[in-house]
Amino acid sequence: MLVRVDPASSVPLYGQVAAQVRGTILRGEIGAGERLPPARELADALDLNMHTVLRAYAELRDEGLVELRRGRGVTVVAAPAKTRVRHLVSDLVVEARRLGLTNREVQALVREQL
């Protein structure tokens, strides 16, 4: 797993790390069930604060891509790509409801894109 960050970028560091690791997971370079490197190690390697990496990992956990388990570290969930899309769909549905769209309207919009 290759992770690169640009301190000069306007994107916050934790966001960059999250994006890099997310890409690695979705490309399948890390398999389901495999462990991500410990936050301390990745932080040390990139010369970052450990909490920056922890925040990135937490974001990935909120997206459902990884799970944090005591003693097992941060592991990639099964079928990460599907899980990711499922999360996006859920976000989509929540937002559509908030804006008052009907189910049929949402389905039509999705079909437009497929």
Binding site: M1, L2, D6, L42, A45, L46
Partner: protein, 310 residues
């Protein structure tokens, strides 16, 4: 061909050759059968025919040399002839002379002189040093660096960027070794063969530590951690690296086998080999080389080369 090339060949051949010559010279002064095995106490406890003792070092060395020569790949031959061959030749010489001398002027094999374990271990240690020294002498007098690759791997690191590569590689086949080892250990313990059990458990621990390896490449250099616990660790500072490349076809026999092979300090060449195939190869300062089998070695190599260019 440099002038040092004759040295390893000579040592490989002369050792067993000297034993044969000595055996012939002393033939009539040796009992038949001769003592061929000594116990921990140093007293002879095994015997065999005279001709076998005289010829054994020669047979072993020529047999293994033939196998190595037919190994085909240049790397295997190189490692054999410059290091292992002289080591084995020296062991053959030392052990052969020791055994022949012990049997000299003995009435029967039981009257052979004692051979201490210390003497035996001393020979092994001396032979290892001879092999390492010869290999050093040969290597320092020739360039073994392979020709530079056409296009050096690069990860296209931008000026402001910081990057790190962390990769874990597993060797599942080692797990298959663990089950029988543990079974043997349990059986031995139940049979009160505790020394055997302890040795088997130690072997199992070593094998278990080779089931996975984590490699980290960043601004500090390359760090390799073994096993599920991440110890032991070995690191190579970035300053020691001249060039990094990834290969798809690492052959374990070219680097001495599986596991942690070689030593950078003594042999100038070391490798962590869990399987054949994709690996990261580092060309180091002082004509040394290091290889480790990892997936996505191209990412690591590219990153290291970019960091070296800075």
């Amino acid at each position: 061909m440099n002038r040092w090339r004759w040295l390893p060949v000579a040592l490989t051949v002369l050792g067993p050759g000297a034993v044969v010559a000595l055996g012939v010279a002393w033939w009539s002064r040796l009992p038949e059968p001769v003592a061929t095995h000594w116990g921990f106490s140093g007293r002879p406890d095994g015997h065999g025919p005279r001709w076998l003792l005289v010829l054994l070092p020669a047979l072993i060395v020529s047999g293994t040399t033939a196998v190595a020569a037919r190994g085909g790949r240049r790397g295997v031959r190189s490692v054999w002839f410059t290091g292992l061959g002289p080591t084995l030749g020296s062991i053959g010489l030392g052990v052969g002379v020791l055994a022949l001398h012990a049997n000299l002027e003995a009435e029967t094999w039981r009257d052979a002189k004692n051979v201490s374990l210390a003497a035996f271990l001393g020979i092994i240690a001396a032979a290892a040093l001879v092999g390492a020294g010869v290999r050093r002498a040969v290597r320092s007098s020739e360039s073994v660096r392979s020709s530079a690759p056409r296009a050096a791997a690069s990860a296209q690191l931008q000026a402001n960027e910081r990057a790190a590569f962390i990769g874990t590689t597993r060797a599942r086949w080692t797990l298959w070794l663990l089950a029988p080892l543990i079974a043997v250990a349990v059986v031995a313990a139940l049979a009160h063969a505790f020394v055997t059990a302890a040795i088997t458990v130690a072997s199992a621990a070593l094998v278990a530590n080779l089931t996975s390896v984590r490699v980290r490449a960043d601004g500090h250099g390359v760090r390799v951690a073994f096993g599920p616990l991440g110890v032991p660790r070995t690191s190579i500072p970035l300053n020691d690296i001249v060039h990094a490349r990834s290969i798809q076809d690492l052959e374990p026999m070219e680097w001495g086998g599986w596991g942690y092979r070689g030593s950078l300090a003594v042999m100038g060449r070391a490798a962590v080999v869990l399987r054949r195939g994709e690996a990261l190869v580092l060309d180091l300062t002082r004509d040394r080389s290091f290889a480790v089998t990892i997936d996505h070695a191209d990412q690591a190599a590219g990153l290291l080369n970019d960091l070296l260019r800075r």
